[in-house]
């Protein structure tokens, strides 16, 4: 198992993902600089969180033109597993690998806290180690996580079971108070039609060890291992 972690200028969660892959899961992991044009035989590509290109213009808007993104798009088209976390999710949206866009949080504040998440679909390669409807906790840390998609495409996304994670309260109820950023439909994570590309705002790599206050996020990575037959 080899994780390829794409490093954009301004990424700051790349080492966290590397740590989880290498030291928590004991699997192979390497960094791929954004100027590379080849992912080189990865089993899963991770676009980590951070502030690529300083979030200039729009979060993810410039990173999507990094040379490596063409390889990521080809890899995704072939069915390769691509996980975009936080800024990585924003980049996937800007690149058109996932539908929708991010607006500023409705509070206008950087939201940095633990949130409850409900697993809406356990039938993706990223969530197979969860039960459908299960609630778990993971941290968020973003200013632009207010997901938006127009009504018609949103209906399609929901209908196809591609909303994977939703913000909820401790009991799994989808309430407005439990929505940390104003996302439409309390959406925290979505996947593509092939279910091999997942984007999510919460940080599973920051909740993969008990010492960090919870290890539920590790199951995202364990699901990936399962998906590639490990």
């Amino acid at each position: 198992m080899q994780f390829a972690i794409v490093v954009f200028p301004g990424a700051n969660c790349d080492h966290d993902v590397y740590h989880v892959a290498k030291h928590v899961l004991g699997r192979g992991a390497r960094f791929v600089w954004h100027k590379e044009q080849d992912l080189g035989g990865a089993d899963c590509v991770v676009l980590p969180g951070g502030f690529s290109y300083g979030d200039y213009l729009r979060a993810g808007a410039l990173a999507r033109f990094s040379p490596i993104m063409e390889a990521v798009a080809r890899y995704a088209a072939r069915g390769g597993l691509v996980l975009g976390i936080c800024n990585g999710f924003q980049i996937l949206l800007e690149a058109g690998l996932l539908p929708g866009a991010m607006r500023r949080n409705r509070s206008l504040k950087f939201a940095c806290k633990d949130v409850h998440l409900r697993v809406e679909s356990a039938s993706t390669p990223f969530t197979s180690r969860f039960r459908e409807g299960e609630v778990f906790t993971a941290p968020i840390a973003h200013a632009e996580g207010n997901y938006f998609l127009e009504e018609e495409p949103l209906r399609r996304l929901e209908g196809e079971g591609r909303v994977v994670l939703r913000y909820c309260d401790a009991n799994g109820k989808r309430t407005d108070a439990a929505n940390p950023n104003g996302s439409i439909g309390n959406i925290a994570g979505i996947c593509n039609a092939g279910k091999n590309v997942l984007g999510l705002m919460p940080h599973p790599e920051r909740s993969s060890e008990e010492i960090l206050g919870g290890a539920s996020g590790r199951r995202v990575f364990e699901s990936i291992l399962e998906a590639v037959g490990e």
């Binding site: 213009l57 729009r58 808007a61 033109f65 949206l93 800007e94 539908p99 929708g100 866009a101 607006r103 500023r104 949080n105 409705r106 509070s107 206008l108 207010n146 938006f148 998609l149 127009e150 104003g182």
Partner: protein, 76 residues
């Protein structure tokens, strides 16, 4: 020549920054205010004779995100 590109959130998209600014203006006593929306201004210096269509292409490819934003172009 110069081109000015205005990027604004589409009308259907909630603009929390515009709302906050609008609220502040009302607090200052500008009760005639009906709505405030925030956007971006991008000033471009381009070769003379550059067409508006070419600038619009820049908008579509990078400067605006069509999912949430509209743009308009002014050549000066």
């Amino acid at each position: 020549m110069r081109a000015r590109v205005f990027v604004t959130l589409r009308k259907a998209v909630l603009d929390p920054q515009g709302q906050a600014v609008g609220q502040a203006l009302r607090t200052l006593g500008f009760s005639e205010l009906k709505d405030a929306r925030l956007g971006k201004l991008v000033e471009l210096e381009v070769a003379d004779g550059t067409s508006k269509a070419r600038i619009e292409e820049m908008c579509k490819k990078l400067l605006a995100n069509p999912v949430i934003e509209d743009f308009s172009v002014e050549l000066t």
